[in-house]
């Protein structure tokens, strides 16, 4: 019994001792392997200084001191534990561009306002992107226009979408303005261009369409507009279903609208953007039918 106790004590003691000597060794190595380098790091204010130095700091491994006028950081680190590259990466991840790494966009975006330095390198890279996107967009746009000509109901649908989008944003003024456009579009439809079946439906729904669109145009109260939009949507559905739209139309339903009675709308995109609640419940609903 006793011998076991002694043995255990000895064991504990020896492990303790060895860990102490180990630590001493590490310190010695640290003294020998320290390197100091000066690096340029983007930043603008004293908040940046704090951010950069915190990012570079690791106890007994690395530390940095950044000067906001010269933008030069003096980085001291243990070469056996880390590298200048690893430290610069950490600094970039905290939002500060440097000679080796550019910060991720969202890390930069999260910096305090005073700290949003001018991103010289990064800016140049971004310039090109929107233009290429734009070109791409314009190509598809012209394509779309070509199709529009073939579909006499297209202007009505486009105007309807504009009303819907205004309601998604809960913007009564825009909805009213778009609805006036819709009234015009309805009046402008050339009935002789409609197919026989479509023509028949058009005659049935035209009055309702006009009535509801006009009411939305007359008011700036979003809730009132939404009431009419619900009926308008049902009529539009009848109309569009009879036609063959040139692009898919998504018939969508929110069971909660109109105090649980549910309401429908048409959309040009499959994703749900609910016009009956706006931002409050933007994603409530589902596509019940795709009209192609």
């Amino acid at each position: 019994m006793k011998s076991i106790k002694i043995l255990m004590a000895a064991l504990l003691l020896s492990s303790l001792l060895s860990s102490v000597t180990l630590k001493a060794e590490i310190k010695e190595v640290f003294a020998q392997e320290v390197s100091t380098q000066n690096v340029k790091i983007s930043g603008s204010c004293s908040l940046c200084k704090e951010g950069i130095e915190t990012a570079a700091f690791e106890k007994n491994v690395s530390k940095a001191s950044w000067d906001k006028d010269t933008k030069i950081a003096v980085i001291t680190f243990n070469t056996t534990k880390t590298s200048i590259d690893a430290i610069l990466k950490k600094i970039a991840l905290a939002g500060y561009d440097n000679d080796s790494y550019l910060a991720p966009d969202d890390a930069y975006a999260k910096l305090a306002d005073c700290c949003k330095y001018e991103r010289t390198v990064k800016k140049l890279a971004v310039i090109e992107k929107p233009t290429s996107d734009h070109q791409h967009g314009s190509i598809t746009d012209t394509k779309k226009e070509g199709v529009v000509m073939a579909d006499p109901l297209k202007p009505v649908l486009v105007a309807y979408y504009a009303v819907k989008d205004a309601l998604i944003n809960s913007d009564g003024n825009a909805a009213s303005a778009s609805a006036s456009q819709l009234v015009k579009a309805i009046k402008a439809v050339k009935m002789n261009e409609l197919a026989a079946e479509q023509h028949k439906v058009w005659m049935q729904v035209m009055k309702d369409l006009d009535f509801n669109a006009d009411h939305i145009a007359q008011t700036k109260d979003v809730e009132h507009q939404r009431d009419h939009f619900s009926t308008l949507s049902d009529t539009m559905y009848k109309l569009i279903k009879s036609a063959k739209p040139s692009e898919p139309v998504y018939y969508q339903h929110c069971p909660m609208a109109k105090e649980g009675k549910g309401a429908n709308w048409l959309s040009q995109i499959p994703a749900i953007k609910n016009p009956y609640y706006g931002a409050q419940m933007l994603n409530c609903g589902k596509t019940t039918e795709t009209i192609k």
Binding site: A92, S100, Y101, L102, P104, A125, E128, I272, M281, C284
Partner: protein, 780 residues
């Protein structure tokens, strides 16, 4: 007339022969590879460790073929153990599929084996060892099958993998023994003190009440993640404006990777080697063993300015670490790292889904195709950072609000949701669903299976007979048992299918982990709402509570494995074997019965664990051997004198039921103790025993109660009954664990253990027999 005929014929003949010959030449182009499999030492973490290299490299060399080639691959096994190679995603004769003991006998040490098959498809595939856990040690590589005419775009094979310094066999053993060392290393213990600190105490209690241990998205802690064998590398040959096609295969043994790119959107053009219509995404998760072809663009820089290289980042699903490559040259534009997971939010979500029976309840959400990701409650980039820190907190609030509203509406709407046609799921976006739909909740587009659309029709013959099979993926995290319909490979029969049939599988995941299910030798159609353009795949990742339907044309012969591709799940027996009726016998399997026995040995394997506490008041510990159903365990308490006594209790039990909460056992109890004369002990039932010298048999039963308390009732052959309650390993803090025990023999015990390394800790405990003690705990 005759005069003319002869040369005419001759010409035709020569032309014919030439044609035939050239055709033969073309079709019979043989591409030979010699692969030398050999032990090696690697150093990914600063410590030299054993690994397996092929031709001296990890990953194994990239094998490139063109559709129409014949592959001749000589595998020279220079290991001192068996091996095999499986050609993942390839259509080939069954005998070359490379599953040891199923389609061939293992390649014995120091022998050579030839795989020879025609390449009849194209796409990004990969290959790996199918023997034991060798894949974890480096036996994986890319296999690129080119079309006869590939589009002219620079292509880079990308092989994702992971490395652990712990031997894979040990990893497997630790998983089976519910070691929480990996959780400690990952910082995901989810202990009570952490729960309290973050305001989730109730969540943690509910979680344990429902008999769950800490939740995580992956099982194993890895020291390093690798892309083509390196943590970081640069492809400086690419110029601004270049488009590059990355042919990515996830060769990780158990890691899913999030893929993101610092240079803008990525365009997904193929999955599992099959082309899909291009889809633009911000990120995608690649399941274990899946492949994706992704086109990235290196953004232009303004003329005269500094060049920039852009990071392509692969982050493990648990977000502990990542690996990256930089495309282009110059200053490195980093991709945003993925923020740490909010584990307690995940736990809360799990609590909501878990019924007391251990089954999962999807609350009528009809989840499938990765569209609803329950895990997103843990993703700060989608659902906002950990509780109200900055401006993003508002977003979280919005989600909460939506949550409440949907709560009211749920009852009225459940019916309408049931009406959803299964094929319609891609379109049926609903608020209830949207709670977990990351594409609806954020501006980040995440790829899901519903977005994959094949470039050509994949419809199967209409008139073929359909064989419909339903499987429930089942599992038990605590005991690390993974199965299908609660049966492992060795417990189930082969599934017989007939050539010419269409096999349709409906898979439901009732376990708490996601599973990448892989079918050998066939591609299946994933019914994802794209109609006849359903994508072809050979891997389907199924998240908890998801149901997915897939179908394939049974066109081969022989035995084909269908299994979870998480290496440790597969080795635990999560799979089935599809066997074609009336197949010719496989020349590579001379003795089918022996092969089957060896195959079944994998999931029948017993795992050993032991723990011993050398304390000031005595020496106590336990050792256990466990497999899928059986447990043989022994506990001992050895005092340092006769007065404290010596005691060994051994139990042999079998776990019953899917959740394995019930375990009847037979036991043997041996004690020796010297007490004062006439001193006896009585239990709560008034039964008297000296316990001085006892050697006795027993029967009993263990049952896991809520809060993970194990209730034990045991009756000994001398008529003595003992009831006991025990709770082991209560996670008090990150490294502190508490044990509590009390029984009707008026014995009780409380212990507090501090884990300081993988195999050792310090324990303070109080025991009614032996008093207070402090000791060193060693465990294996």
């Amino acid at each position: 007339m005759d005069f003319y005929k002869i040369p005419y014929l001759k010409v035709i003949l020569t032309i014919l022969i030439l044609f035939l010959f050239s055709d033969l030449l073309y079709a019979q182009k043989i591409v030979r590879y010699d692969l030398y499999v050999k032990d090696t030492t690697v150093n990914f973490t600063g410590k030299p460790k054993r690994a397996i290299a092929v031709n001296g490299q990890i990953p194994m060399p990239t094998l490139t073929f063109t559709e129409g080639d014949t592959a001749e691959i000589y595998v020279h096994n220079e290991l001192d153990e068996e091996t095999s190679l499986h050609w993942h995603g390839l259509f080939l004769p069954n005998q070359y599929d490379g599953v040891p003991n199923l389609t061939q006998m293992p390649i014995k040490a120091h022998t050579t084996h030839l795989y020879r098959f025609a390449i009849i498809q194209s796409g990004t595939h990969w290959y790996h060892s199918h023997t034991q856990l060798q894949e974890q040690l480096g036996m994986y590589g890319a296999m690129i099958l080119n079309k006869k005419e590939e589009p002219l775009i620079p292509t880079v094979p990308i092989v994702l993998s992971e490395w652990t310094d712990i031997k894979p066999e040990n990893v497997h053993r630790m998983l089976h023994n519910a070691s929480d060392w990996f959780a400690i290393k990952k910082g995901t213990t989810q202990s009570y003190s952490e729960a309290i600190k973050q305001g989730y105490f109730k969540t943690k209690v509910t979680n344990e009440f429902k008999r769950m241990t800490a939740m995580d998205v992956s099982d194993v802690y890895y020291n390093q993640f690798l892309i083509n064998g390196k943590n970081e590398s640069q492809f400086s040959q690419f110029k601004p404006g270049d488009k590059v096609r990355l042919r990515i295969s996830n060769a990780g043994a158990s890691t899913y990777f999030w893929l993101t790119y610092a240079g803008g959107k990525m365009v997904v053009v193929a999955s599992d080697g099959n082309d899909v219509e291009p889809v633009e995404v911000d990120r995608l998760i690649i399941a274990v063993s899946e492949t994706y072809d992704v086109i990235v663009t290196i953004p232009q820089v303004a003329p005269g300015s500094q060049p920039i290289s852009f990071e392509f980042l692969a982050t493990s699903e648990d977000r502990t670490r990542s690996a990256s490559i930089f495309l282009g040259e110059g200053i490195k534009q980093l991709a945003a790292p993925l923020p740490k997971l909010k584990y307690f939010e995940g736990m809360k979500m799990m609590n909501g889904m878990m019924k007391m029976s251990g089954d999962l309840d999807d609350m009528g959400m009809n989840m499938s195709l990765n569209q609803m990701d329950m895990n997103l409650v843990m993703y700060p980039e989608i659902t906002g950072p950990l509780k109200g820190k900055n401006e993003k907190g508002r977003k979280l609030e919005k989600v909460d609000k939506q949550d409440k509203i949907t709560g009211q509406e749920k009852t009225t709407d459940r019916e309408s949701m049931k009406m959803d046609d299964k094929n319609n799921t891609a379109e049926s976006e609903h608020a209830d669903h949207n709670k977990y739909n990351s594409n609806a909740l954020s501006s980040i587009t995440t790829l899901n299976y519903a977005m994959l659309r094949s470039v050509k029709s994949t419809a199967l013959p209409q008139d073929a007979p359909v064989k419909e099979l339903r499987f429930v993926l089942t599992g038990n995290m605590n005991r690390y048992v993974w199965s299908m319909d609660n049966k492992v490979v060795s417990e189930s029969d082969k599934i017989l299918i007939a050539k010419g049939e269409v096999v349709r599988m409906i898979l439901y995941n009732n376990s708490m982990m996601r599973h990448p299910m892989h079918l050998h030798g066939h591609d299946f159609r994933l019914l994802n709402g794209q109609g006849e353009k359903a994508p072809m795949k050979n891997i389907i990742d199924i998240m908890p509570m998801e149901t997915d339907t897939l179908e394939f044309a049974a066109s081969e012969s022989g035995d084909w494995f269908f299994h979870c591709h998480i290496l440790y799940h597969m080795m635990s027996g999560m799979g089935r074997i599809f066997s074609y009726k009336n197949s010719p016998s496989n020349p590579e399997i001379p003795n089918p019965r022996l092969a089957q026995r060896k195959l079944f040995a994998d999931d029948r394997k017993f795992h050993f664990m032991a723990e011993n506490d050398i304390a000031t008041n005595g020496n106590d510990g336990e050792a256990m051997l466990q497999n899928t159903r059986w447990s043989i365990g022994s506990e001992w308490r050895l005092g340092y004198n006769e007065h404290h006594g010596y005691e060994v209790e051994t139990h042999v039990g079998r776990y019953i039921g899917k959740m394995q909460w019930l375990m009847p056992f037979i036991g043997f109890d041996w004690r020796y103790r010297k007490m004062g004369i006439d001193e006896v002990e009585s239990n709560l039932f008034g039964q008297v025993n000296t316990k001085d010298k006892r050697s006795i048999l027993s029967v009993g039963v263990n049952y896991t109660l809520p809060m993970l308390v194990i209730a034990q009732a045991e009756i000994f052959t001398d008529g003595i009954l003992r009831l006991q309650l025990e709770r082991m390993d209560i996670p008090v803090s990150k490294r502190f664990r508490m044990n509590l025990m009390v029984n009707t023999d008026k014995e009780y015990m409380a212990a507090l253990k501090y884990i300081f390394i993988k195999n050792a800790g310090i324990t303070a405990h109080y025991d009614s027999d032996m008093g207070f003690g402090l000791g060193l705990t060693l465990n294996y």
